[in-house]
Each structure stands twice: as C-alpha cells, then as structure tokens.
C-alpha cells in the first residue's frame, strides 16, 4: 500500500511514471497540476480509474484550477484529510 501524491500534469513524464507504479490497493492524491486528471472524460482520468486505486483530489487546488466537481470516483479532500492519509499509509511516493 503506497500513497502517491501526484503533482504533475497528465502529459508529463512524472504522471506517466506514476501510473506505471500505482497498484490496486494504493491511493493517489492529485494536487497542483495533477488535478487536471480529475476532468471527466479525459484519458488521464480513465487511466487512473483503471488502476483501481483509491483516488482523491485536493479541494483547494481543484477549485483553483476551475474544477468544481471532480470526475466520478475521485474524492475531494482537504489538507487535514491528506495528513490523515499520510498517517494511514506507511509508504509514500511524491511525483512532481
């Protein structure tokens, strides 16, 4: 179980590399430019859902980007929730 914090746009190398390593029992938190993967109907969104991990978007960053409601399957979380997630997952990888 790995917590992936994904702070990179869907077309970036970091985003591609992250997708390769996400396992079904992992969690992915989108932040920064990563939030654009929560746009419904995009390939990046479909690819993340196919990875079957728990998917989250940082609310403040999504709002900043103009994403009022993320795609189905993505949970909106606040910084407190992110901190709680980091406590729940013993291992983390940051993608940027």
């Amino acid at each position: 179980m790995v917590l992936h914090t994904l702070n990179a746009a869907p077309s970036s190398a970091a985003f591609r590399d992250c997708l390769k390593l996400v396992a079904p029992d992992d969690a992915v938190v989108l932040l920064g430019d990563g939030v654009y993967a929560a746009l419904e109907g995009t390939a990046a969104c479909d690819e993340l859902r196919a990875a079957a991990a728990a998917l989250f978007v940082l609310r403040a960053d999504a709002q900043l980007a103009g994403i009022e409601s993320p795609a189905d399957g993505f949970g909106l979380i606040d910084m407190d929730d992110l901190v709680a997630l980091t406590e729940r997952f013993e291992r983390q990888l940051a993608w940027y």
């Binding site: 970091a14 590399d17 390769k20 390593l21 996400v22 013993e90 291992r91 990888l93 940051a94 993608w95």
Partner: protein
Amino acid sequence: MGEAAKKPVLVVMRHSPYGSSLAKAAVDVALAAAAFEQAVDLLFIGEGVLQLLPGQESHKLGKKNIGRQLASLPLYDIELVYVDAEAALRYQLDIASSPVNAQLLGPQEMRQLMVGYDHLLGL
C-alpha cells in the same frame, strides 16, 4: 509490519542524469545510505533509465559523472539494480552495456517489487 521481512529502502530513480540535479541527489542518497550499511536497492523508471547510458562525458560541464558513480555500486554491495523495461525499450537502452548489473521489470513486476520495502524514496 509486513508478512515477510522487508528490506529497508528502495530509491526510485526517475530523472535524466543531467537535466536537473535530482539524479545526482538520488545517487548521493543511495551511496550515503549504503556507506552506512543501510540496505538499499535502486529502481530506474522512465527517464531515470538514461542514467544507465554508457559513455557519459560530464567533465566538460564540470559535473560528476553519474554513469561512473553508478559503476561503483557493487563496492557498496549493491550488486543489482532494477530497470523499467518499457522505458529501456523506448530509449533503446541495452542493459548489457549498463555500468551496473541491471534487471528489466515490467509494470506488474515493478509494483510487486515495491511491496518488499519499508520505505520508498522517489527522486
């Protein structure tokens, strides 16, 4: 705690050697940990596989040669590194010419590999 005994640290090397200072930082971290007898393994993914290209000439830029530093890994008891097979193919990297013994892994194998470590460090 895991089912089986886990190894301490997997460093995920994912940046090209000279495009930023991140690859050098990753090599420094891996060597520092190994120098202090910490068991460390390395996984090269994406553009990180380019660190394994032979024949790097960094001296004209006044930079340390990442390829040659990686060649010293066996002296730190890191005998084998793991390499993203897709990226190796994309960049036509021949791992037989890599400065250190390398094993190619597919995505599923990489995900399985990661399960065996207490800590992951991505640089």
